[in-house]
């Protein structure tokens, strides 16, 4: 199952539509890291609204994506984590530290816009 990566202005939006295998996740990671350079994007939004489980591998991959993208000079935000998923994640100790999160796509875009206008100021990330 391939994840579509859409270019929207200066941002890339990867919308995960169904449960992904580990291989799919790695493929997604490679594709995003590749495309962020190709399109010279300023930000990446990974939408996980459709996911109703998030295991340690998925969490780590999302974290890796964020850090890799950051090294490529752009910012990532994970959007749409479901309440139940969030609760399970913290119980399992999967905290996505250092990874910005937002409620939904709209919020994610607002977050990236804000980052773009005031560089160096992190609105909602752990790194404060």
């Amino acid at each position: 199952m391939q994840v579509p990566i859409l270019k929207q202005g200066p941002y890339l939006i990867a919308s995960i539509q169904s449960a992904l295998s580990d291989a799919d996740l790695l493929e997604l990671r490679d594709a995003i890291v590749q495309q962020v350079g190709t399109y010279r994007s300023r930000g990446v939004i990974v939408d996980v609204t459709a996911l109703d489980v998030m295991d340690s591998f998925a969490t780590r991959t999302l974290r890796d994506i964020t850090f890799m993208i950051r090294l490529r000079g752009a910012e990532t935000v994970i959007v749409g984590i479901q309440p139940d998923v969030a609760f399970t994640m913290v119980q399992l100790g999967l905290k996505l530290e250092g990874v910005p999160t937002a409620l939904d796509l709209e919020e994610g875009i607002a977050f990236l816009n804000k980052k773009g206008t005031s560089p160096g100021k992190e609105a909602n990330s752990r790194g404060r």
């Binding site: 309440p83 969030a86 609760f87 913290v90 905290k95 999160t101 409620l103 919020e107 994610g108």
Partner: protein
């Protein structure tokens, strides 16, 4: 239950006199000496400093009904009436702070008072006394058991009800401004409640599209490592939904405890009181509250 009771009475002794006959004799004796034994019992209760929450008259009134129920249970071998009475009694005395040991104590006292009166009556015929006691003991034990268990069950029921009440009262998630929620926590947080709180909060964030949440813990009396941990988890889960948590109302005691036990709340945003928390939240959200009449400074 009755059947079991009857078998106990029936099979324990195939002596010259059937147990039923002995019991009848016993009951007759207890009826005959009702006044005196009752008074003796009430006196012993006061002496032992039991039921201190009740007045002398109340003790005597209760003693009378317990006595009559006791004799009736001995006579009929059925415990339903006694059980119902025990439940009713417990309902009345639990709110007055009567303890389990007191209830067990008075029932054991009655058992003792009655046994002594039997000793006195049958002291000349040791064999008969023995048989009477054989008939009396199992029934008396059972009665003591019934009353004590009834009391404890009633207590547990009260406790369960109160827990349920606390759970239902639990905690509302309130929206005070667009995108700003308040979660005032009152009372002790146990793991179950922490879980419920977190779930409610996360759902509230999603439905209200909240960006900032103020958790006020002024009403939380104590906090240990577990509770602190639960709180940290709540904050982390909230962040995963893209919201920021501000914790307010940490009392001096709680602050001391947390530092002493070494819980790291450093990653958490804490503000002294609820007012400060709301102001901080407004700042994060870009609100500015200005008294009416003054102009808003757009600078």
């Amino acid at each position: 239950m009755n059947q079991e009771t009857r078998t106990t009475f029936g099979t324990s002794h195939q002596m010259t006199q059937p147990t039923a006959e002995l019991l009848r004799q016993l009951v007759a004796h207890l009826r005959q000496n009702r006044t005196q034994l009752r008074e003796e019992w009430a006196r012993r209760i006061t002496e032992a400093k039991l039921l201190t929450a009740m007045t002398k008259d109340e003790i005597f009134a209760e003693a009378t009904s317990v006595y009559d129920n006791y004799v009736e249970a001995l006579e009929t071998g059925t415990f339903e009436a006694l059980q119902a009475y025990a439940r009713n009694l417990s309902e009345r005395i639990i709110p007055r702070g009567v303890e389990t040991h007191e209830v067990v104590g008075i029932v054991l006292l009655l058992r003792d008072v009655l046994a002594r009166s039997l000793f006195a009556k049958y002291q000349n015929d040791f064999a008969l006394l023995n048989r009477i006691l054989d008939a009396y003991e199992p029934a008396a034990n059972r009665i003591a058991n019934t009353v004590a268990v009834g009391f404890v069950q009633e207590r547990e029921r009260v406790i369960r009800e109160q827990q349920e009440a606390i759970r239902v009262l639990s905690t509302p998630v309130l929206q005070v401004r667009e995108r700003l929620l308040i979660l005032p926590i009152i009372g002790v947080i146990d793991p179950q409640r922490a879980r419920q709180l977190t779930e409610q909060l996360l759902r509230g964030i999603r439905t209200n599209r909240a960006k900032v949440v103020v958790i006020d813990i002024t009403g939380v009396p104590v906090m240990d490592a577990n509770v602190a941990n639960n709180l940290v988890q709540t904050v982390e889960a909230t962040r995963l939904l893209g919201a920021t948590v501000i914790i307010t109302g940490l009392s001096p005691e709680i602050a001391q405890t947390l530092v002493t036990i070494g819980v790291d709340l450093g990653k958490m945003n804490t503000v002294g009181d609820l007012q400060g928390g709301i102001e901080e939240a407004e700042r994060l959200l870009g609100y500015k509250v200005v008294p009416s009449g003054e102009t808003v400074d757009h600078a």
